[in-house]
């Protein structure tokens, strides 16, 4: 009889544990709400970083264009901010009504941090209002600096809010080891739960990711305004804005993989089977899709720069080199996208003697991928460098030597990357993992030193003619759109990876998901969900941009100053 009672009890428990959402089901409902909230949140956290940096350049570089740019974005931020809050509320309501028991579990542990979250959110809102509405009032002298500090404060609040929210979801992924299904949630110390394995890696990863995302959306906004522009001056302004957005997105993107690498490493350290599920298990194909998306990002970003060289007098000196950069990038994309386990029918399998290709399989392993992506990063950096240099002639006496040193640095960095890439095939895994650090170190060192030399070398440089902002063919603007869509989609995909490796657990190995939706869906279904979310998000953003245009025609003021030689 006892087990009958147990069954009845279990049925009663599960009745209170979950409710169902009509038509699309609980999982899809939560998925959409969380994803769109997250995209808006990333935008709302990324843009202030962007705005503060732009304002600083405006103040310290005495360039009014940047100040206007910062303001224009803060205006969009205001509307996007309320959209974030609305979607956040939708998410919380859905979670607490559809998964009441899980919600109760989370609140039992994190209740206090949720109150703190709300109060910081409150402060953040008011700082944002002050920052935006005080823009024209505190315009000069010391007041301007205070205003800029408000922007920094806004970022601090935003980052704090994100850190708190991150602790909830990282706890779901990697609860501290001493917590078992029997642990009473009320007995878990808050700080202990927050300081779990993946909390800091996710914080850093998201911080950088938000900058990338903000830059990409800014680029898309600018390209939309560019295409819609009526006058040449307006076109020039938005062309420039698109360039800045793209620059920020791509430069932050270059450091993003390192944060991702740290996160992946922490996941492996926490639980190897979770790591293998992520990299080698049922999600392994997700990384081939990710590789494809990253290749699109690199190619589109470089394409935009190369097309942009068409509007720079003097850039024709560098045109012959860009095609070799393209060759490196395409070869890199080929290696980067080569799967280790290939999709093949039985005839091909027999010819290959398994699902690893005897020759190309060598390109499918970590050593080859790291080498390819590092060389792609180097090429992209070189593209930027050529672009920067396109319309100036250095006047410093050591310009020639400097260029030679820079070239030597590129060669050394590429050599280090290739050396460790090839050597990685001959050593055991634990040593090979260490090699990626050397490769990354060489590339980062090259980027830093070459940039320093370049800045010194460009002092007092002669201009070969102003950049003809606005003289861009429309196809370059479409490339910016593809960048924005790809970034957004990539974010959705990586979110699926992070959340999906929990598999059928609400809290990994502590609280099991017993809904009919507990199985982690296949990539195809996930892709449809991601596309739906991206579409909803972009439609709303489009609406916000349209509103932004409605309220005030544009912050663009026909300029009377001399054209800038800006970057």
């Amino acid at each position: 009889m006892a087990h009958v009672f147990a069954l009845v009890q279990a049925a009663a428990d599960s009745a209170a544990a979950y409710r169902d959402f009509p038509v699309i089901g609980s999982r899809a409902a939560i998925w959409i709400a969380a994803e769109i909230h997250l995209m808006f949140a990333a935008f709302v956290l990324g843009v202030p970083i962007f705005a503060v940096v732009a304002e600083a350049i405006g103040i310290f570089g005495k360039d009014q264009r940047y100040d206007r740019l910062a303001k224009e974005f803060t205006r969009l931020l205001l509307i996007a901010y309320s959209a974030t809050a609305i979607w956040g509320a939708v998410f919380v309501f859905l979670l607490s009504t559809l998964y009441p028991r899980f919600w109760a579990y989370l609140t039992a542990i994190f209740g206090v941090s949720m109150w703190v979250y709300v109060s910081i959110f409150f402060f953040e809102s008011f700082t944002l209002y002050l920052y935006y509405y005080g823009w024209d009032r505190w315009k000069q002298g010391r007041a301007k600096i205070v205003h800029w500090c408000l922007g920094i404060l806004l970022n601090i609040w935003g980052t704090a809010v994100m850190f708190i929210a991150d602790s909830w979801l990282t706890y779901m992924m990697t609860p501290p080891r001493d917590i078992t299904p029997e642990t009473s949630p009320a007995s878990i110390k808050l700080w202990h739960a927050i300081l779990n394995h993946t909390w800091m890696p996710i914080n850093i990863h998201r911080l950088i990711g938000n900058v990338v995302f903000g830059g990409a959306i800014v680029g898309a906004y600018a390209s939309y305004r560019f295409l819609a522009a009526k006058t040449d001056e307006e076109r020039a302004h938005y062309d420039w804005m698109g360039y800045v957005g793209n620059f920020i997105a791509i430069s932050a993107l270059i450091v993003l993989p390192f944060a991702g690498y740290w996160l992946g490493r922490e996941i492996y350290q926490y639980d190897q089977s979770m790591g293998i599920t992520m990299m080698g298990g049922f999600m392994s194909w997700l990384w081939v899709i990710q590789a494809f998306l990253i290749a699109v990002l690199f190619l589109a970003g470089n394409y935009y720069l190369w097309v942009g060289m068409g509007r720079i007098p003097g850039a024709e000196r560098f045109r012959p080199y860009t095609k070799w950069l393209l060759v490196v990038l395409v070869l890199g994309a080929l290696v980067w996208g080569t799967p280790h386990t290939m999709i093949a029918d039985s005839r091909e399998l027999a010819a290959m003697g398994g699902s690893h290709h005897p020759l190309l399989g060598a390109l499918g392993v970590m050593s080859a991928k790291n080498t390819a992506v590092n060389l792609m990063i180097l090429s992209t950096f070189l593209s930027f460098l050529l672009y920067r240099r396109a319309n100036i002639r250095q006047v410093v006496p050591w310009a020639k030597t400097g260029t030679r040193i820079q070239a030597a640095m590129f060669v050394i960095a590429a050599g280090v990357v290739l050396f460790f890439g090839i050597r990685g095939y001959f050593v055991e895994a634990i040593v090979r993992i260490g090699y990626s650090v050397y490769q990354v170190g060489a590339v980062l060192a090259c980027i830093v030193f070459v940039t320093v030399i370049d800045v010194l070398m460009a002092r007092g440089a002669q201009s070969l003619g102003a950049i003809q902002w606005g003289k861009m063919p429309p196809r370059s603007q479409y490339a910016l759109f593809i960048l924005a869509v790809t970034f957004t989609w990539l974010m959705g995909l990586m979110g699926f990876a992070r959340s999906g490796i929990r598999q059928h657990w609400h809290v990994w190995q502590v609280m099991q998901d017993t809904t009919p939706y507990a199985a982690t869906p296949a990539l195809g279904y996930a892709a449809i969900m991601i596309s739906t979310c991206v579409l909803i998000f972009l439609s709303l953003v489009g609406f916000i941009f349209w509103l932004g245009g409605l309220a005030e025609k544009s912050t663009f003021v026909p300029s009377t100053e001399a054209p800038h030689v800006g970057h």
């Binding site: 089977s273 080698g280 298990g281 097309v307 395409v330 080929l334 996208g337 003697g353 005897p358 055991e428």
Partner: protein
């Protein structure tokens, strides 16, 4: 002829065809290589196509010249024949592609097996719970390795050789009858990438113990826990690494 060689449109077409020839015909001819599966050919060609399109369109002048032949074919009256031929060819190609996609075929569908599915963190071996995370081969700490290796060799030749073969290369007598093929231990993608505890798990639990991502065509590997003892499996693992010369993947040493 020279005009064609210099024209970006024909250069692009030439590059595209050349890439196809290299991928489909040259790569398989390289020593130790094999045919490239069609899914990978498609992926490579798509990447090359994007690269070529970027090249022709990143310069205004080149882009304009590139478009000329296309434009002419579409509107020039004298090229009516070419135009009609092209339209017919496009229709035909689309038709053929559609047909090849929908026609029923006898071949098994391409499969996507995960070769190294995620191991559980612990397994039950004959009623005893073994934690796999951080587990090393216990025999490595028990005196001389040589007798264990010899024992592993004996067990391998008693049980494993019909499928995994004399050379540990997955080419045993029965190998050709299986899908998936037996693991090739000489390959750098199998045991060389794995910890000994992973190999132990695969031997102990075999095909039936594979998680879902190890499907759809399930491995014929028996669950050796029914036939071998724990120490016997460990000694086989030892033998596999000793014979192939690979080093097992080691656990990361935590700083603590």
């Amino acid at each position: 002829m020279r005009a064609y060689l210099r024209h970006p449109f024909w250069q692009a077409v030439g590059l595209f065809v050349l890439a196809y020839l290299v991928i489909v015909f040259v790569i398989p001819m390289l020593p130790g290589s094999a045919m490239v599966p069609s899914s990978v050919v498609l992926q490579y060609m798509a990447t090359v196509l994007v690269g070529i399109l970027i090249w022709v369109s990143d310069d205004e002048a080149r882009w304009t010249t590139f478009k000329e032949p296309l434009h002419e074919v579409l509107i020039q009256p004298r090229l009516k024949l070419v135009r009609n031929g092209l339209l017919a060819a496009v229709t035909l190609v689309v038709g053929c592609l559609t047909y090849s996609q929908v026609k029923a075929s006898v071949a098994a569908p391409p499969n996507l097996r995960s070769i190294h599915p995620a191991p559980p963190s612990q397994i039950t071996f004959r009623g005893k719970t073994i934690t796999l995370v951080g587990l090393e081969n216990p025999l490595r700490k028990q005196g001389e390795l040589a007798p264990h290796v010899a024992e592993g060799r004996r067990i391998y030749y008693q049980n494993c050789v019909p499928c995994h073969g004399d050379h540990l290369d997955g080419q045993g007598h029965f190998a050709s009858g299986f899908n998936p093929l037996p693991a090739n231990f000489q390959d750098n993608g199998t045991i060389a990438q794995l910890t000994e505890s992973f190999v132990f798990w695969r031997i102990a639990k075999g095909g039936p113990g594979l998680p879902r991502e190890g499907t759809p065509w399930n491995s014929a590997m028996p669950a050796w826990e029914d036939f071998l003892t724990e120490d016997e499996i460990w000694s086989v693992v030892l033998f596999l690494y000793d014979q192939t010369g690979w080093k097992p993947r080691t656990w990361e040493v935590t700083a603590k």
